[in-house]
């Protein structure tokens, strides 16, 4: 009798459908995204992935999310200081690299967006990016041959709404987790740093970790890192959103992961390579009222130090992330005989 019960229980457990979960790596903090409001399902993730790669989100169907957030470049727009969008219009900021979004409370360089679900609204409606209106996107999707069925699969009915579009995009974006860099293997004990990388790690902990804290390599806060104001842009950063003068020239601390793929650097892409970035921190900091307290005394690095630090930073590149097929262009979904 007992054996039957045990077998039955095991059998039932085996039939339980596996729901995708966000695997939180050991030692990482808890995600801040509220999954209870938008629990992950495979169908919603797949729908989100299709939408991410579909230029139908833009006014003339030429620009998709992937246009400025390309997987091979850790989901940024490589080699562009300012991104370009529809009709060759040039934007006002550098495209941030997307990864580990479940751990961010706010989004965009100035934190304008307070919830991942709402972030997509900004590029969709920005005239320099996709120049579209949400109701028009919904109309296009509802009229399409392929999307009503996909929405039905994901949400149980084929009515396309703004909320469903945003929730499914969120789900795909939440799956973009970069956690398999060489650094991560070292932390897990399955690899060791070289002598140069180890020296760089020590230098990183001394000079960089207060803002670019492990394991996400950002503390997701807003800091003024002493960049001079580019008067062709006059970008005041977070102050535009918070209206506090204390936030003048503060921008979101970006992650140091995947730097190999995501040049140029800073909110306006002014530094083409990491050498220029380090030179800024050593010699180029502008002292203004809101300069980060961590940078008040300057950072002293010898040329050898810079070499070791970059060696360490290269251990944060995650080639599995940029080649993971689960994040790639969904070829099978798009290249069917059904047109849009």
């Amino acid at each position: 009798m007992v054996i039957t019960c045990i077998l039955l229980a095991v059998g039932l457990l085996a039939f339980r459908t596996e729901k995708p979960q966000l695997a939180v790596p050991k030692g990482w903090p808890k995600p801040v995204y509220d999954f209870s409001k938008n629990p992950l399902t495979q169908n919603k993730i797949e729908l989100g992935r299709m939408l991410f790669y579909d230029p139908v989100l833009s006014r003339d169907s030429t620009i998709s999310c992937a246009s400025c957030h390309s997987q091979y470049n850790a989901f940024t727009h490589v080699d562009h200081d300012l991104s370009h969008g529809i009709d060759n219009r040039i934007g006002t900021r550098n495209s941030p690299a997307l990864m580990n979004l479940a751990w961010s409370k706010t989004f965009m360089w100035d934190g304008a967006v307070n919830h991942l679900d709402m972030q997509a609204l900004a590029p969709i409606t920005n005239p320099l990016e996709m120049d579209e209106k949400l109701p028009d996107v919904i109309r296009k999707l509802q009229r399409s041959k392929r999307y009503p069925a996909l929405f039905c699969k994901a949400f149980g009915d084929s009515v396309v709404t703004g909320q469903k579009l945003l929730l499914s995009l969120s789900q795909f974006m939440l799956t973009l987790v970069s956690k398999n860099a060489r650094y991560d293997s070292v932390m897990r004990g399955t690899a060791t740093f070289t002598e140069h990388e180890q020296k760089g790690y020590t230098l990183y902990k001394t000079h960089c970790s207060s803002c670019h804290a492990e394991p996400l390599f950002t503390n997701n806060s807003y800091e003024n890192n002493g960049l001079y104001v580019d008067n062709t842009l006059n970008d005041k950063g977070r102050m535009a959103i918070s209206k506090q003068t204390a936030d003048s020239l503060k921008f979101k601390v970006p992650t140091l992961r995947n730097l190999k793929y995501t040049y140029p650097y800073m909110h306006d892409g002014r530094f083409k390579n990491l050498g220029q970035v380090l030179n800024h921190y050593v010699m180029g900091i502008q002292h203004t009222a809101t300069l980060s307290p961590h940078l008040q005394r300057g950072i002293y690095l010898t040329n050898d130090d810079k070499f070791y630090l970059i060696a360490f930073l290269m251990t944060l590149n995650d080639k599995h992330y940029v080649s993971n097929p689960a994040y790639s262009y969904p070829k099978n979904n798009f290249e069917t005989s059904e047109g849009l």
Binding site: D34, K37, N38, A112, V113, N114, H115, L116, D117, M118, L121, A122, I124, T125, N126, K133, L134, P135, I138, T161, G162, Q163, L166, L167, S170, I241, K243
Partner: protein
């Protein structure tokens, strides 16, 4: 003995019981006590004219109160009233008890502005959520007037903001001891604009002290029609 108890119980409970009636509310923006028609020109006290192209407003958390205590709360908390969609201007509250006071908020509370994508009248596809900066727009009043030195002489008031002193959510409380089953809530835009100089104040597209002031002004002029 039992019967007397039951009768006493019924008499006691009767005033608290639902009247079995509904309350039908009509939310109507007006000028000169007449419902506003889009495109119709109205006269300002200065003699200049203006016309409205759009009036959209969130009415939320409608409740009824007796002597300061809430006795009924709308099960559907968020309504987007839109002059261009007449059916949205009527809100039905079913099975209401007796009441003295009608309360509601103009706008969406901050909790909804920070918790991601919502459905129905709160769906961002309604165009009442700021795309470039998070947060709901509590109300949009748009139109044109020769007084506005703007493109196409347009005025656009997009009043929102949920954080700190930029919180533009405002509360309205209206007394009506007659407790009728149908009420028109008048939103007199002529009264609202009494302090507004359209030459200088015609475009608000983000949270600000001005936006808060205009929200408070709107709350202060809303009334029950005919009172």
């Amino acid at each position: 003995m039992q019967l007397r108890f039951l009768v006493w119980l019924c008499l006691f409970c009767a005033p608290l019981a639902a009247t079995g009636q509904n309350l039908l509310l009509h939310f109507v923006p007006t000028w000169g006590h007449q419902p506003i028609a889009a495109g119709t020109y109205y006269k300002l006290p200065s003699g200049d004219s203006l016309q409205f192209s759009s009036f959209r407003c969130y009415v939320s958390h409608i409740s009824l109160a007796v002597k300061g205590k809430e006795v009924y709360s709308d099960a559907n908390p968020y309504h987007l009233i839109d002059m261009a969609e007449p059916q949205t201007m009527d809100v039905l509250l079913p099975q209401i008890p007796k009441y003295y006071e009608l309360r509601f908020a103009l706008g969406v509370d901050s909790a909804m502005s920070v918790s991601g994508a919502h459905s129905g009248d709160l769906d961002p596809e309604k165009g009442m959520y700021w795309a470039w900066q998070s947060g709901y727009i509590n109300f949009k009043i748009e139109g044109s007037s020769p007084l506005c030195n703007t493109r196409r002489n347009e005025f656009q008031f997009h009043i929102g903001g949920y954080a700190g002193k930029d919180n533009a959510l405002v509360q309205v409380a209206l007394q009506n001891t007659d407790a009728p089953n149908e009420m028109t809530i008048e939103i007199p835009l002529d009264s609202w604009m009494q302090q507004t100089d359209l030459r200088r104040q015609n475009t608000i597209m983000s949270p600000s002290t001005e936006a808060v002031q205009l929200a408070k002004q709107l709350a202060s002029v809303i009334k029950i029609a005919g009172r």
